[in-house]
Symmetry: C2
Subunit: 192 residues, 2 copies
């Protein structure tokens, strides 16, 4: 059960058997059906979740009720509303599973305790955020400087398995285009 997450952690830092067991003791296992909400805006987000199995999305709903998808997570990804979690303030994001999923959660207190007892984890989480930051930056640049058809092609190339698991209108909401227009893009691209 912990094998997968251990492999993940091991890529960045190396831990003794005791440290690893301590880490495990802080994790909470959770199994949920598809279309379950792990978080709604307004609630406090008291978890960072490692996705063992399944698929989920993190999204924002703007003033006009439009959804913006920020992340599609599959196996081996972490999901959370980081601002809410780390500052212990109300969430602005929604997190919802797209498939039946299994997760390992760590809450705020446990994470702080972990950092205190095994400071190496500071490094792990720093590197995780750093990667997320770079991804976010690339997306911002793409959104500003590339037209929608290319953003779609880049997306498919970067995440070839996602389109098979995530409905198309959600991908549109990730790319920042209307579902109708993404459909038109796809027919245009297939005709070449």
């Amino acid at each position: 059960m912990y094998q997968q997450i251990d492999t993940y952690v091991n890529k960045c830092i190396s831990l003794s058997k005791e440290e690893l067991e301590y880490f495990h003791s802080l994790l909470q296992y959770k199994k949920v059906k598809r279309k379950s909400f792990l978080l709604r805006a307004g609630e406090k987000c008291d978890f960072e979740a490692y996705l063992v199995k399944g698929c989920a999305r993190v999204y924002y709903i703007d003033e006009n009720g439009f959804e913006v998808d920020l992340l599609f997570a599959v196996e081996d990804w972490w999901i959370s509303d980081l601002a809410s979690f780390s500052q212990q303030k109300p969430a602005t994001l929604f997190i919802e599973t797209i498939e039946d999923s299994e997760l390992l959660l760590i809450d705020y207190k446990s994470k702080e305790a972990l950092f205190k007892k095994v400071p190496k984890f500071e490094r792990l989480f720093r590197l995780m955020i750093q990667k997320a930051y770079e991804t976010m930056m690339d997306r911002l640049i793409a959104n500003i400087s590339k037209p929608a058809p290319q953003r779609y092609q880049d997306f498919v190339k970067k995440y070839p398995t996602i389109p098979q698991r995530v409905p198309q209108h959600l991908i549109a909401a990730y790319l920042g285009v209307s579902p109708e227009f993404l459909s038109k893009i796809r027919t245009r691209l297939s005709k070449t």
Copy 2:
């Protein structure tokens, strides 16, 4: 000379006198004229820089030669091409001063040594990136879901001093609109 950065560091972590002096010993002071390049795409970025005084911008140039501004830094901000720095690979970003500026730089080796000797700094840098990540996310959401006039108003509200120090066409490149259109937005807004 170190007073300013010490205050900054102190907000997140508390250090002994020796730790602080060790930190100082790793910093390199640099003074540059306006329109100096601290980094060009293609070079390796071997610094994270704390801006003591002045103003600088971090930007990207896309395939068509268009600039996208990612950050306007003023006093008390950090600037770097994080992907290049942390992975020690060629930069994709440009960094250029907008005013005569004074900086404190730390290079890769020094930062690693610092983490090793004073692990508390892992926490500081983790929190720094975390904040940068949240900012980046807010910008992505705004770019996808808000029209340009509102993005501009939000920008002015969030960074009221920046428009006085940064040319308007650079702000346009930050917001992701053409300079002409930003000009039109401004005349429209002033007429109400």
